[in-house]
Symmetry: C2
Subunit: 624 residues, 2 copies
């Protein structure tokens, strides 16, 4: 097991292109849009604990976590944008937390306002989940601003939780109904050096699945819902509520690395691989069963009914990133990249102001209108500003604002891994020395990347570069030389690096026609288009209605074109295809007519950018 | 508007072949199997009104209707099978009803046992629905046995309902939450000649959609659920709970005919056509939205998620039969036939002992096992003996036992319509004369039908024979002569008919490859096989797993074969097709490989016969 650390977002500056633009969008728009919605919906005032029965905006058990994720996102933004007003807003909330915290160190706006006597009695009610998110936020805010107040408050909270869950066993349950605190405690430990927090995190991981605990009615009390079916180390497959799964195993991965626990790492990899192999939409979307927002049966991947929560994709990024630091295998970085360009990014509008919770792969707005009318499916047909359970908006905010965290890993001594590509500049310490890596590239529009080295003194190091799994003809050279070795999808160069050295990478971005395993009935007879890390889709805006009937030609004649004016700038794929003649004489069925209409051109756009031109049909999978 | 009457099941004897076998099955097995389940589940003892809180089998508001449908089925069976024991069972229940009926004439086992003070207060609670089914049963039992007691009891009940709903307006609602009594009252009127029952039925039709009435919460109080969105005559489309729709419009069709109300007939045809054109599965299955067991959006026809209730198909037969008697257009008889061989018949196992409520067009049992485990989808993977809401088993029982009712219509004077084909003998009165039609045929295995005439004296009459819409090259001749005219899909012969005359019909049963409208995304890129009136399907038992990946060849080389030992005797269709090579190297997605495996043969069986060889995969739609 390797024990790499991700190079912090504090040391990786996105300098241009795709993700720089996104970081600007979330800093200029998203952080304000989410704040306004949270303020207007009573989420912030809930933290004053003054709400009374009969008033509007009854505090919900999730509310503190929504605010916490927003605070965390705001903190990351303050790292790359000066914004005193934003910082004031965060400070004001920190003050509310300080004011509201009980003498023991407890803070939960729902319980303290509504059920003060029932603290720690209901496993379902997200207390530890909210606490965990507050802890994550406090660590980020401390890292960026150096202000300790929030961090100190959260240490008090963590101390109190340790007392309840380890020393006195004073709660009516043993492990959180919604995991999150496990990974948060590891962050708190790293920020403070306080090992008790690490031990408490390990405790939650160790205890899970070993005791009789409260189950979840609506999942028929099946223990998989909250990953209670086995001790974590023995779990064989990814089960239950997807976000819960990803948060639990992200925490488990942290514990695996901190304690060198290979059994735990194996459980992380085993269940991660199982999900990716059996239950993942091609977009990275996870949650193939709406019931319980959960993993469904293997190969059951309905495109309209996809319950592919934005947070689930983000959670999988948390997990993949952590595994990668113990096992630098490109399949985990490939997954990171798939989620960031597709499953996760589809959750936010191009202007950064509205959000999807579910990210389907097929849609007809008229179907949804019908369902809404009669209460059959609540999914909005377009992105919205707020959900009653509004976890996804601040989650995508904090993800994008902290994206620098995902590019590089290092052992801090002599090895640096480059996982992702896009214009950025990273300062990385190796022992006492520092090396700067600067990526120049138009990635993801183009697969050519130049990485220049700057080092005050020559640095002896191994530099490893991920070769994307989607690229069948990559070239990676350094001064004309091939890599010393290629291992698990990374190209390794050993050497002494000095200013002026550069590594040239070229990942040819051909259009790829993809197909799904024959057991995925929803996609049989169909293909999807990808280019580089991006999944493409057909939209009504480009292709009219009845997208489901478009068949891509055996000779599609792909034309790839960057269109700067379209959807804030996207590379489109045009292909030849055909439709059926739709004259059914007023009937729904007729005898099959094999003759199709003459071929015409259709245009596909990146999936993440869909639904930014009004409501319309969507199709990722295309008949072949 | 024509005013034909269906020739009664009492005068149409099925004499051999497909449906005779089914009538024997329901007489030998189904009627006993359903009775046993109903007795064991407390449905019969509920009628004693002695159940007390805390006991097992709490009477449900549906229970009387379940028993009533069983009684009605039993009555029809007694028409063609002597079974004194069965008759005794019916009489015993009639006695329970007599004993339990209140002095006003009220009988409802749920209300009289559980909520005696709340009679007529809750529109949702099926009181009038249960009453209607009891009335239908009483009419059938009177027609077959001549015993009046049950009929007289139900007249008292109808009198009481008239008092409440017309004279005193003593109920908290105006029209039934679940329609059924409308059509039942017309039957009661016809059996007794009592015009008040007809008027009461018309009243319920007329009032619906004109007053503020209790709505149904779970349908977001949308009035479509129970067809309350408009007055019945103004309804434009088939909406809401499917069985409710069919029962309402069956009653409306009766009223249309009795009163010569063309506006009402137009509403029946308009909404019927709309459903068939927009929302019908190729099997006839209706209910393209599980939520509310309801009609969903047009063209939204997911095959796995099909909520195609057996009762919905049966209800559509009720409606089609009634429209046909005013407008003898073969499209209504085609629909009857489609439902009886497919959507309805799939609801019962070949041995007659177990039942489907939902009839999907695609199934993987492993998916359902998963869903059951976590409470996500309650549909059983195989037919079962009883449902908690067990309407379908006695409904398919009474349908099959009364199937003779669907074959012929007459004006009673000079015209006879033959709608359906299979070996049978019908005695039909035309004025003072009688004519006997005897069908000899192996239909539906073979499309050749001979109809022989027997008449004591020559009878001047027009005989009309339906040309099935599925047959593109039908021949219909009488003594070598072509029909005098063909109108709305019926071949008409005018003449004086005498014993020895015969009509020869030949409906070539080629295998037909069918496709769905391009807006039906679930079926794009796919075809279904039909032969004669039957829809075919692929089963795992014949073709292994991964049915969804089988692609039928452009040259399928169909082989049609009657297999007497298979599935109680079915005609199978063998075709050439291919699968994909499934080697994805452990991944869920790969770059598309256009090369398929070598073609092999696959076998399709009639859809109704599926799931009689254990649990296994099912697919109606096949890649093309």
């Amino acid at each position: 097991m390797k024990k790499l650390e991700s190079v912090s977002y504090k040391n990786v500056k996105l300098t241009g292109g795709f993700w720089k633009k996104w970081q600007e969008t979330v800093a200029l728009n998203t952080v304000n849009a989410v704040y306004e919605q949270f303020a207007a919906s009573g989420r912030i005032s809930a933290m004053t604990h003054t709400w009374r029965e009969g008033e509007e905006n009854r505090p919900h058990i999730f509310y503190d976590s929504d605010i916490a994720k927003w605070m965390e996102g705001a903190a990351y933004i303050l790292q790359y944008v000066k914004n005193p007003e934003l910082e004031d807003k965060v400070d004001a909330i920190v003050n509310l937390i300080e004011d509201g915290m009980s003498s023991e160190g407890y803070f939960n706006s729902y319980y303290q306002t509504i059920e003060p006597a029932n603290r720690w009695t209901n496993r379902i009610n997200h207390e530890l989940y909210c606490a965990g998110h507050l802890m994550e936020a406090s660590v980020a805010y401390y890292e960026v601003t150096g202000k300790r107040k929030f961090l100190d408050l959260m240490c008090r909270y963590a101390d109190y939780i340790e007392e309840i869950f380890i020393q006195t066993e004073g709660a009516k349950f043993f492990t959180p109904g919604h995991e999150e605190i496990e990974l948060a405690l590891v962050k708190l430990y790293k920020a403070t050096g306080e090992e008790r927090y690490l031990a408490l995190s390990k405790h939650f991981i160790d205890v899970r699945g070993t005791r009789e605990e409260m189950m979840f009615d609506f999942f028929k009390n099946h223990p998989t819902y909250a990953q209670d079916q086995n001790p974590v180390r023995e779990q064989q497959s990814a089960e239950g509520h997807v976000v819960r799964y990803t948060y639990l195993f992200s925490g488990a991965a942290d514990i695996a690395k901190e304690y060198g626990d290979t059994e735990l790492l194996e459980a992380c990899e085993r269940t991660f691989d199982e999900a990716v192999r059996n239950k993942m939409y091609i977009t990275g979307g996870m949650g193939n069963m709406k019931h319980g927002e959960a993993f469904g049966p293997a190969y059951f991947l309905p495109n309209f009914e996809a319950y592919t929560e934005t947070c689930a994709s983000i959670g999988f990024m948390f997990l993949a990133k952590r595994i990668l630091n113990m096992d630098p295998d490109s399949r985990f970085a490939d997954h990171l990249e798939l989620q960031m360009y597709n499953g996760a990014l589809a959750g936010i509008s191009l202007d950064g102001n509205s959000f999807f919770y579910e990210n389907p792969l097929e849609q007809k707005p008229t179907d949804l209108e019908f369902f809404h009318r009669v209460g059959a499916n609540g999914r909005p047909a377009s992105r919205v500003r707020l959900f009653s359970c509004s976890c996804c908006p601040p989650n995508i905010l904090r993800l994008i604002a902290s994206l620098g965290d995902y590019y590089y890993s290092t052992d801090g001594k002599c090895t640096i891994y480059t996982h992702l590509y896009s214009a950025n500049r990273a300062e990385i310490k190796l022992g006492e020395k520092k090396i700067v890596l600067t990526q120049s590239t138009h990635y993801p529009e183009d697969g050519r990347v130049t990485i220049r080295i700057t080092a005050k003194d020559p640095v002896k190091a191994t530099l490893a570069f991920r070769i994307p799994g989607w690229c069948k003809n990559a070239t990676v050279t350094c001064g004309g030389k091939s890599p010393d070795r290629i291992e698990k999808g990374y190209a390794y160069f050993d050497g002494e690096w000095k200013t002026g050295d550069k590594v040239e990478l070229n990942f040819r971005m051909d259009v790829r026609i993809m197909e799904a395993d024959p057991r995925v009935y929803a996609d049989c007879g169909k293909v999807a288009l990808m280019r580089g890390p991006m999944v493409y889709c057909l939209e009504e805006a480009d292709n009219g209605q009845s997208l489901g009937d478009i068949r891509i030609s055996a000779k599609p004649g792909f034309k790839v074109k960057y269109e700067p004016e379209l959807l804030s700038g996207v590379t489109t794929i045009t292909f030849r295809g055909s439709r059926r003649d739709g004259d059914f004489g007023g009937a729904l069925y007729r005898e099959y007519n094999p003759v199709r209409k003459e071929e015409t051109e259709f245009k596909a756009v990146p999936y993440y950018a869909w639904n930014n031109r009004g409501e319309g049909e969507l199709a990722v999978w295309i008949l072949r």
